[in-house]
Subunit: 196 residues, 2 copies
């Protein structure tokens, strides 16, 4: 806490502010999408001038691509045995707080999918960093087809929670939904077993 009359100011460092902009952009993009998030808002959150965004990243497009690259952590999603995967992802989709960074890439994708400017970056990112690792983890013959099904449920839950974070359910309802999501995920991975 500085004495009265003094102000706290961050030490000037290109790397630090670059990271601050990236973090603020990740937050804004995941909440408001590519179109909705303004460069001034992002810069404001990062505590820097809006001009620095264009300076450091070349433009909003490149910033968006950089955020996608940053928030791409598929190894945090696709691993483990089917049972463990189903339980973990179900908890992530239903229970986890919305601002959890793990789901950010999904949120960013779906919130920006309708923007023509972001579409190119989105498509490339999805294929390389979402479906790709998913298919590799699945490993089975129809992995590509199956990945669309899995991805749809994950993105769909993302949309649903984006619209209303508590899913318009009480605690018991969310608990029940988490069980259902877990069962369905497992059913997708093991098509020959009952869901119940």
């Amino acid at each position: 806490m500085p004495a009265p009359g003094f102000i706290v100011t961050r030490r000037r460092s290109a790397e630090t502010t670059r990271a601050a902009i990236l973090e603020a952009a990740r937050c804004r993009f995941s909440r408001e999408g590519y179109e909705g998030a303004g460069v001034r808002d992002i810069a404001g959150d990062a505590g820097v001038d809006a001009a620095l965004v264009s300076r450091y990243f070349g433009g909003k497009d490149e910033l968006f691509a950089a955020v996608l690259e940053l928030s791409a952590k598929p190894d945090e999603l696709f691993y483990g045995a089917p049972e463990e995967f189903a339980a973990r992802i179900a908890a992530l989709l239903v229970r986890d707080p919305q601002d959890d960074a793990k789901m950010d890439c999904v949120l960013i994708m779906l919130r920006s999918a309708s923007s023509p400017k972001a579409a190119a970056a989105i498509r490339q990112f999805i294929e390389a960093r979402f479906y790709g690792p998913m298919v590799e983890w699945l490993g089975c013959a129809d992995a590509t087809v199956l990945s669309r099904l899995l991805g749809a449920l994950m993105m769909g839950m993302g949309v649903t929670r984006a619209i209303s974070p508590d899913l318009d359910l009480d605690a018991a309802g969310r608990e029940a939904l988490e069980r259902k999501v877990e069962a369905i995920l497992l059913a997708m991975l093991r098509p020959n077993q009952p869901v119940g």
Copy 2:
């Protein structure tokens, strides 16, 4: 085809142009979302001046709400026995052309969910015209919870096809995916039967 020197012009009618604006707006909103679709674009598609949008509907917000109200045809989605429902919806989600009006409400919802301006209208619409009829059709005890699961898969497929209409699959892959979606839908509705 009019002779050279003559132009075709629509007969002046408030009702007709109102409908034309609504149709153009439905199309644009479902493709570009609330923020992405401009009033000038919509008016251009409808073949009228942009000023008429504000004139007839009061503003972009009200136009959006009117489009939601227009494209709300839940009775075209939620009916039939589980087997028939699963087959029909699977075809709709995987096979149908993207510009089919039946899925427009889903597309509009997900493409505009991130816009604060449209969020209020979206939430109200979803509850009243999507989850409501779905829960009523389901009829079972945990219908509300189940509706979130069903809705998530439907919206997720919508997002997926919004990003790449052909799902990045060949014809055989789409056929296989449609079977999988059908099986999963049925599994959601009948949790005690195997998926295979």
